[in-house]
Subunit: 159 residues, 2 copies
DNA sequence: CCTCCTGATAAGAATAAATCTTATCTAAGA
DNA sequence: TCTTAGATAAGATTTATTCTTATCAGGAGG
């Protein structure tokens, strides 16, 4: 899930624009952290971004990653993914989109759907409040995990 | 979001049946914990269930609530709700269903949708793996929170 | 190019949800 | 009633996240 260079550059520019507009400082750390997230379409977690950026900025503290995360979230430059709640994950795709999630390995992939974009909020829900986002999660098993599982089965049968 | 007595009883029976079938012990604690969850359609968190059941069983430990939770989850008697990841929440409604979620107060309400039940997995997603569940989250502001917000506005205007 | 000041960072302490450990207890089958 | 595998209580432990505080640096203004 490596993103195209042009998409990465677009996200980087939108980050810099948002930072300027919000009057927040464009520090070396923030730029490197965002660069790392913007180039990764796999919805990485805080820990992995921390490790990767620390290679380039050794004194980096994990707190800075968390802080940058919440600043970027507030400025609507990236979003928190609410899948597998054990740890927070970044999503640098701010286009409204949905997710395919593998129950086994936790892989998260983006998809778009015209069918879902046309979805009408059911009548029973309307009196409960105003809906601003329709988010869909397709849950199942990814091809890779399915492959591993069947490989293990044949392994077992051989015993 | 108080559930009807008959729905509560139905869930309680299905819990007892599942426990018998799985060969797990029907302890006083488990019964009381489940009774509390089964009667609450608001997707309560571990802490609140702990507090409520502790009134009836004072020596109850919160670990027992967590353990009961994971046993019941394994036995498919209830599910974990992955909304607002700060703390785990129970869902004793095991019918496939969707949620309306209020961003402000975290209220979660169940809904069903024939339109969504007919949803076809997009072609682009199919090669990624097998989808077993289509889960939809309608995010927005509940009527109660919207009411509070507009009340505060008029308050501000008076100054 | 310097200076200053405010907001940002690093390090490590603190917090809080969730899990683990161990001694004790109990549901339920014989 | 007796037995025992599995369950509980209490408190320690783990782990993700946030907080504290001394130091640092981006960037506005000179
Ligand atoms: Mn995404
Ligand atoms: Mn529900
Ligand atoms: Zn997978
Ligand atoms: Zn609300």
């Amino acid at each position: 899930m490596k993103l195209s260079e042009e998409e990465k550059q677009r996200r980087l520019r939108s980050f810099i624009r948002a930072a300027r507009q919000a009057g927040i400082k464009l520090t070396h750390q923030r730029l490197e952290i965002f660069r790392e997230i913007a180039g990764d379409g796999r919805h990485p977690d805080v820990e992995s971004i921390y490790k990767r950026v620390k290679k380039r900025i050794p004194p980096l503290s994990i707190d800075t990653v968390y802080r940058t995360f919440s600043v970027l979230e507030r400025e609507k430059v990236l979003a928190k993914v609410s899948v597998f709640c054990n740890r927070a994950r970044f999503d640098s795709n701010m286009e409204p989109h949905h997710h395919f999630v593998c129950r086994r390995c936790g892989a998260v992939r983006d998809f778009f759907s015209h069918e879902l974009d046309r979805f009408h909020v059911p009548e029973e829900v309307k009196p409960w409040g105003d809906v601003d986002t329709v988010y869909v999660e397709l849950r199942g098993t990814c091809a890779e995990c399915a492959g591993k599982a069947s490989a293990e089965k044949t392994e077992d049968r051989r015993k």
